[in-house]
Amino acid sequence: MSFPLLTATALTPAIGAVATAAVPAARRTVAKWLALLFSLATVGFAAAVLLRFDTGSGADRYQLTESRSWIEDFGVRYELGVDGIGVAMIALTAVLIPFLIGAGWHDADPPSLPASGQEGPREGEAPATRRWRPTQGFFALILMVEAMVILSFAATDIFLFYIFFEAMLIPMYFLIGGFGDRAGEQDTEEGQARQRSYAAVKFLLYNLVGGLVMLAAVIGVYVATADQLPEGTFSLQAILEARSAGELDFGTATERWLFLGFFVAFAIKAPLWPLHTWLPNAMGESTAPVAVLITAVVDKVGTFAMLRFCLGLFPEASDWATPVVIVLALVSIIYGALLALGQRDIKRLIAYASISHFGFIVLGIFAMTSQGQGGATLYMVNHGVATAALMLVAGFLIARRGSRLISDYGGVQKTAPVLAGTFLIGGLATLSLPGLGPFVSEFLVLVGTFSRYKAAGIVACAGIVLAALYVLILYQRTMTGPLKPGLEKLPDLRVRELTVVAPLIALLIFLGVYPQPLTDIVNPAVEHTLSDVDQSDPEPELPAVEAAP
């Protein structure tokens, strides 16, 4: 057995989390640097994964596989392995986290510290909260989430995936509920705390319910395998092989129920209308880095799992559900965009924009074409980076003014041109301007969808216009026009903030101009997925032409 690369990739942040949490209360900065260090180490390992991954035509579907026995009694094995999609997602996660840590550098400083730019220490708790270490906790939790996300991207054992899929909720929950930017509509400390915990509980309950429904389905899968195969198993590969060998057949009704069990969980995680309402609260109340963590990393597990598990395990059921899912996705696209237009709160606006984008991702996945699914995968990556750029800059802005309301801003570009510029670029990426990453993926999704469902493709196109509207309106209201009172002294991006944003923008441009490395990794995996659901791309009307250029 070769060096367990995937385990190492996931273990690094986990260790980092423990180490960070162990740092004594007074040594905040140490904790921060420690966290950053470990997240960078993770990037190193992820890069190794990227390099070791063989994209050749003859290569295995799942690579870097590891398999150890864990709980035989449940038929659970510690099975890791990645296909191209998994690699892409792991890379995205690993790359984003350091930026989030850098962006959240001061988010978790206790209010008593001047650094966080908050009012003075609150009286009467200095001795009581002596052992209270929010900063250490914040970064430790982020790393913990990273570890779990990476594991769920790498898990090829359904049960293993489920465990981390569920477990990551807890650290996320504390991140959302514990560390809001103190800029909500509620002006009292108390009121904000209430809103935060409401958002956190909502997040947890939504996802927990989804997860529990999935648990039932997971058990169902085990039972089904148990009475058809020599012994029950959770191993994705084993099940796939058995199915292709014709030894395993869930039977139509069962398969559909199981599919629903899985799909509901994933649809909640990657908020799909009408299960989306937790996202705006969660993203609105939490600090910008956490918001990014939610939408750019954690939610991707949902869409990723649709590709890997829903389609892989239940092809017929997926096919059966496709029409409904497509409609839901379209509704999400339009609905999310329209609601984004109606928001008064910058972060909630971005949240609804994300809902719209997740609509695109799901649309691509269920279009069942290689362009669609390849596009969806690219979309996951691009949307992650783009939202990170936009949301982080928005976070910097909000931290400066202490308000999330769009109406509190105006003419910012006068005092902070660089901030405005980066914000604009983030926005343009969000409306998928050609030349930036998201365009490629959005176009692929559209092509993929259109070539199978013309009407759906055209409806989705309407989303493009709406995206332009909400992004540009946001930009116009906040950045242009006469300077709003209270912003005269607004400082421009600091070095730390610039170093966080600039690479993201560079990445966006690179992905937009030369996505080929990514597509090379993703394509084979997509082909496999398509063959799982035995679908193939529809032929063009004039096949003769294909040979032309």
């Binding site: 309402t277 290689s370 390849g374 003419g411 510029g421 176009f443 216009v465 309106i473 063009p540």
Partner: protein
């Protein structure tokens, strides 16, 4: 080589944007230099192309594979044929001139560096647009110029009007872009590719229905970019941008991209007559629409904008005519590029001297103060109204002739419309001339109370104007002599000959006639007696025209307001309904809990009752199970 053509200005933009403070002093020179570089490149390529014969003239360059996914193969590849060459020359030359002009015009603007960065960005995008060899890459350029225009229109962001105009322009263009993207999707599903070669080559093989659909979608895109009805509303507001921008983007180059698109896709339109008819109608309508608006505006730039729309209407119409018209559409496009740019630069120079005053009713008699501007502007004016043997005369008359040559009623209608348009053109241009340069001075101190001191602009501004003036005078004759332009473009666009009921000569005569009519009319109204500083109420048509024929009111009533209501409604529903259902369930469970709680009333005996009852049920159920 071709890549470099796009790369140079792109590099400039990047350097200027990233470079920051360092380049405040030198930035604009760098930008201009890079624009010049691409001009030089263009010229060399042009000469090189002339060196080759007919078919070999077209060049291809494949840079790298952009998006390879299964059957979908999108490449970054360029195609330089006569059509592209024409545009490249126009863009680089006018572009360079306007860079030069801007050095003077923006001399005092603190954010000059950014301005030039954006200009370079625009050049790059525009060149990409005309050089792309597949529709997707063209789309990139297409949106790229949109972005540049957004940035430049909104360059003076502190003015809310400017910011709004910028947003409006981008969004309206986005609507058009959707058309283009749908067209691309259709091409992919039909031909399995969207590169020019295979698509255009096989256009005839597929059903006319599909082609009509593609054509209409392309037209939608063209309408967005070229400000044709019904997507014309943004162009007027776009004049909020600095004047050089209006000259370069919103007169000479970007707005003509629509014409390029349709000419480029000629093969598709030729096979889809219905689509062509729509193009013609759009062109005709816009032609008059713009002209009417142009007649009523007192803002010099808005008036010129109206004229731009109308002129592009001509081109559209010509392009709609098919092979008969393509060549002349492009020809008019080029000449128009020269004289319209000249006009705008002139207007800019005037404003420069008048404290950025734009209301023509506050000008008057400026010819004494700024002679060079007067002369250059005047020449451009003569060119646009089609004064015999100046540029406009050739290009426009050819289009009118082509219109007649449709034959039958259609021919007469088109010809008539275009003649009417010509008359109107003459009218509003003369009006501008009179109001600006003739009559007595009408300007007063502005709000701050300083009197404008009209003066001639610096050389960096006047030189480009002179060059353009030369262009507007000579270009037409140069192109037309020996059908040079026709032969040049024929290999790409093809050439058709309709049978016109009237001869060339007659058309020329008629055109000149209506032109004179328009001039006289304008003089009758504005030349004879002094012009009131405050515009008279005017008749309903004037009032409507001042409001751009109510286009904004229409959009607002039909799109904006319902849209707002829709979003507000949805926000409410999302909170009350979608969220409400969830919270409702939670609440109801809570309520149930509260009710069940009461059973636990603390009395041991009632607990005993529940136990006893439970036992009874247990026994009963067990017996029942046995019974059934």
């Amino acid at each position: 080589m071709i890549g470099l053509l796009v790369g140079a200005p792109l590099l400039g933009a990047a350097v200027l944007l990233v470079g920051g403070r360092l380049l405040e002093r030198t930035g604009h020179w760098l930008a201009t230099a890079l624009a010049a570089v691409s001009l030089v490149l263009a010229v060399t390529l042009f000469l090189d192309m002339l060196g080759r014969e007919g078919e070999e003239r077209a060049l291809h360059q494949h840079l790298f594979s952009w998006i390879p996914v299964a059957d979908l193969q999108a490449d970054v590849a360029f195609r330089l044929d006569q059509l592209s060459m024409t545009f490249v020359l126009l863009i680089t030359s006018v572009g360079t001139l306007i860079h030069l002009y801007s050095i003077g015009y923006m001399a005092h603007d603190p954010r000059r560096r950014r301005f030039f960065a954006y200009l370079n960005l625009f050049l790059a995008a525009m060149l990409l647009l005309v050089l792309a060899d597949n529709y997707l890459l063209l789309y990139v350029g297409w949106e790229g110029v949109g972005l540049a225009s957004f940035l430049l229109i909104g360059f003076w962001q502190h003015k809310p009007s400017a910011a709004t105009a910028a947003k409006k322009a981008f969004v309206v263009n986005r609507v058009g872009d959707v058309g283009l993207s749908i067209a691309i999707l259709l091409m992919f599903t039909t031909f399995g590719t969207f590169a020019f070669e295979p698509v255009l080559a096989n256009a005839n093989e597929t059903g006319e229905g599909t082609l009509t659909a593609i054509g209409l979608m392309l037209l939608l895109a063209a309408c967005g970019k070229s400000a044709q009805v019904p997507l014309q509303s943004w162009l007027g507001d776009a004049m909020e941008g600095p004047t050089p921008v209006s000259a370069l983007i919103h007169a000479a180059t970007m707005v003509t991209a629509g014409v390029y698109l349709i000419t480029r896709s000629g093969a598709i339109f030729n096979a889809a007559p219905d689509a062509q008819t729509v193009v013609i109608v759009v062109g005709a309508v816009t032609l008059l629409f713009g002209a009417i608006v142009g007649c009523a505006k007192d803002d010099i730039k808005k008036a010129l904008a109206g004229s731009t729309m109308s002129q592009i209407g001509y081109m559209m119409l010509a392009a709609g005519l098919g092979p008969v018209g393509y060549v002349f559409a492009i020809m008019h496009l080029v000449t128009h590029g020269f004289f319209k740019a000249g006009l705008f630069l002139g207007a800019g120079s005037v404003m420069h001297g008048m404290n950025d005053e734009v209301d023509m009713r506050r000008y008057g008699g400026l010819r004494k103060y700024m002679p060079i501007t007067f002369v250059t502007f005047g020449l451009a004016y003569l060119a646009i109204i089609g004064f015999p043997y100046l540029s406009g005369y050739f290009s426009k008359d050819e289009i009118i002739y082509a219109g007649f040559s449709q034959g039958g009623a259609e021919g007469w209608i088109l010809g008539g419309v275009m003649l009417l348009g010509a008359a109107l053109t003459a009218y509003y241009m003369t009006r501008i001339m009179l109001l600006t340069f003739f009559g007595e001075k009408r300007w007063q101190p502005d709000a701050q109370g300083h009197e404008p001191h009209p003066h001639e602009s610096p050389l960096s501004m006047t030189i480009p104007m002179m060059v353009l003036a030369v262009g507007s005078v000579g270009a037409g004759f140069f192109f037309d002599s020996g059908e040079r332009f026709v032969h040049w473009l024929e290999p790409v666009t093809g050439l058709g000959h309709g049978d016109s009921p009237v001869s060339h000569g007659t058309v020329a005569l008629a055109a000149t006639g209506v032109m004179l009519l328009g001039v006289v009319g304008a003089w009758w109204q504005y030349g004879r007696r002094p012009v009131p500083v405050v515009a008279p109420a005017g008749r309903w048509i004037t009032r409507a025209a001042r409001r751009d024929l109510l286009q904004d009111d229409f959009n607002h009533a039909v799109l904006v307001r319902p849209g707002n209501y829709l979003t507000r409604g949805l926000v409410y529903l999302d909170h009350k309904l979608v969220d409400g259902v969830v919270n409702g369930t939670a609440a109801s469970v809570g309520g149930l809990s509260g009710r069940l709680r009461r059973v636990q009333n603390g009395f041991a005996r009632s607990y005993a009752v529940s136990m006893f009852g439970g036992a009874a049920v247990l026994v009963a159920a067990t017996l029942l199970m046995r019974a059934v």
